[in-house]
Symmetry: C2
Subunit: 339 residues, 2 copies
């Protein structure tokens, strides 16, 4: 049987904000499955801000996507056919198959999921790379102490939501920054943050000061720009800034500047850029801790799911504009594990 | 006997670069020495870039100097009279008596020096706060490994010169950045740096690239501005940036921006602001290590000494412009320990 896959490729490098025309939906026959390989049908595709960097043509920590290439991305799928010793047909797996309906792979970096443990989509969110990014960044780099004030930008996003809830578990004051009233309401009412600042309507500096009466000890950085400047006005001595993302700059076309380092010097602040894939040794601890907290209801999550691979480009463009609300996923194929 | 001290006070807050008229030389009788106090005559006064921050009126890590106040600073002096159990007349001590010829103090933070061990002026330089700043910043924050490339700005200065020599001792490639040919020649020929870039005449980016063929693993930051931007073009993954000073910005009158954090993210760079006085627990190790290396001739030093307290304002103004060559000192009184 020849399977035809639908795939989204990068058609042209975006200049500034990506446009739908920068992507193309194409069809291609799926290669036959060779020895040691598996064929997987994609169920969920994860959309994440880091993908903007991959298509930028700028040298970075990972190989980029060139025009004509398949778009990269984390996926959850079902093994349809296996000539691999570890996997069998019917297995649900998390891998990196990219923006396509079917993929043949050698199983490198693929892990089996147990649908009885947690919804399989969470392997791309709260129990996947975004959740582990929050875990490593906050706990290992931010090193929060009970009583500290932890601020996180993009607070309702896949990473930010976990950061704030981890901060609460560690006895900290958790303050979010988000770009909509419903997002702020959500992180306070549903996730238990102590406060949230709406940077689009509030006087950012004043609202942040009111939300952080004891200053800021940890700032989990997802966005950059004016928000960072406002945070730096309030950092306490020896503050830690895990630098996870700079989404406000990803579509920039010209040179971007940053904050003066003066405040980092006088307050002896730590800024540490990090990429979760450098910290895979922390995966077992992350899955044990956060898996338990999710099952206990101490860490909650929200997903923003669109249906159909063809909608991935629009969803990705919206993600970069903050239009999603919760972990952004594309349901590429039927999820038969959901009851 | 009433002793009259000459003192330099801050007359007015400088706007931009300090001017001689921002300071005033005044005379005042020295208070009589009370129980538990010592009277010291100043021999050397240390001039350091941090003093610009102290007179700026901006809240920082230490109390500032207000108009009318004595200028602060580290000093080496001779105890003239003592009613203190630890010190006796004739002792040579390092303290923080500020810009004055005589001072009465309670001895807090004052340490005795042994003129037989090293020239007493070194207690303000290579074996004092600047040397320890280099030691803590490079070794504890920069964590250089053999084979790393270590770049230091203000390379011929009191801190930078020690940074590069420590880097060589640790088996690294040491690259300086300085603002004059004689300074560059000095750090290479006299101090043993592998290379030095003259930022005033060289094409900074190209010269730095040529000097750092394997990229940059540690950047010891003393200056900020264009030099930092050039360094960040060359940082390797997991580079460390001990943030010690930003002398290019200290006279700025308006808002100053910094480099984009993007490069810190993609290369997982650490930036850590630090102030040596937070690390006094490292003093014994520093004095043991660097003291030995100085005696063995493995760490060399250079002093730029002007004579007379009345010249301190001009020397300080020049320091901020990079006019000094080596550790900037004012000889306030006779050094009878020099043979």
């Amino acid at each position: 049987m020849t399977v035809t896959a639908r795939r989204v490729i990068l058609k042209s490098r975006p200049v500034g904000a990506p446009k739908p025309g920068d992507f193309a939906l194409v069809e291609a026959p799926v290669p036959t499955v060779g020895d040691g390989e598996i064929l997987t049908r994609t169920i969920y595709l994860s959309l994440d801000p880091y993908m903007r960097g991959r298509i930028s043509g700028v040298k970075s920590y990972a190989k980029g996507v060139d025009p004509g290439d398949l778009m990269v991305g984390g996926t959850v799928g079902e093994v349809v056919e296996s000539k691999h010793p570890v996997f069998k047909a019917g297995d649900i797996v998390q891998g990196y198959d990219g923006w396509q309906t079917h993929a043949v792979s050698k199983g490198a970096g693929v892990r089996k999921l147990d649908p009885a443990q947690a919804p399989i989509s969470t392997a791309l969110g709260v129990l996947g790379m975004p959740g582990m990014t929050a875990y490593v960044g906050l706990l290992d780099i931010g090193r929060p102490k009970a009583g500290d004030t932890v601020v996180v930008s993009a607070a309702s996003g896949a990473v930010g939501a976990v950061v704030g809830q981890l901060a609460k578990i560690k006895g900290c004051r958790a303050v979010g920054i988000a770009g909509a009233k419903d997002k702020c309401d959500y992180v306070v009412s549903e996730l238990g943050f102590d406060a949230c600042v709406n940077y689009k309507t509030d006087d950012l500096g004043a609202a942040l000061r009111a939300a952080c009466p004891n200053g800021i000890d940890v700032y989990f950085e997802n966005v950059g720009g004016d928000i960072t400047e406002a945070v730096l006005q309030l950092v306490n001595p020896f503050a830690r800034i895990p630098l996870c993302g700079l989404i406000s700059q990803y579509n920039a076309t010209g040179a971007v500047s940053g904050p003066s380092w003066r405040v980092l010097l006088t307050n002896r602040v730590l800024v540490q850029g990090f990429i979760v894939s450098d910290h895979l040794d922390r995966m077992p601890a992350f899955l044990a801790d956060v898996g338990a907290w999710v099952r206990e209801g101490r860490i909650r999550f929200r997903e923003d799911i669109v249906d159909g691979l063809e909608r991935a480009p629009d969803a990705f463009i919206g993600l970069l504009q903050g239009k999603n609300f919760g972990k952004m996923l594309v349901r590429v194929g039927e999820d038969r594990t959901r009851r």
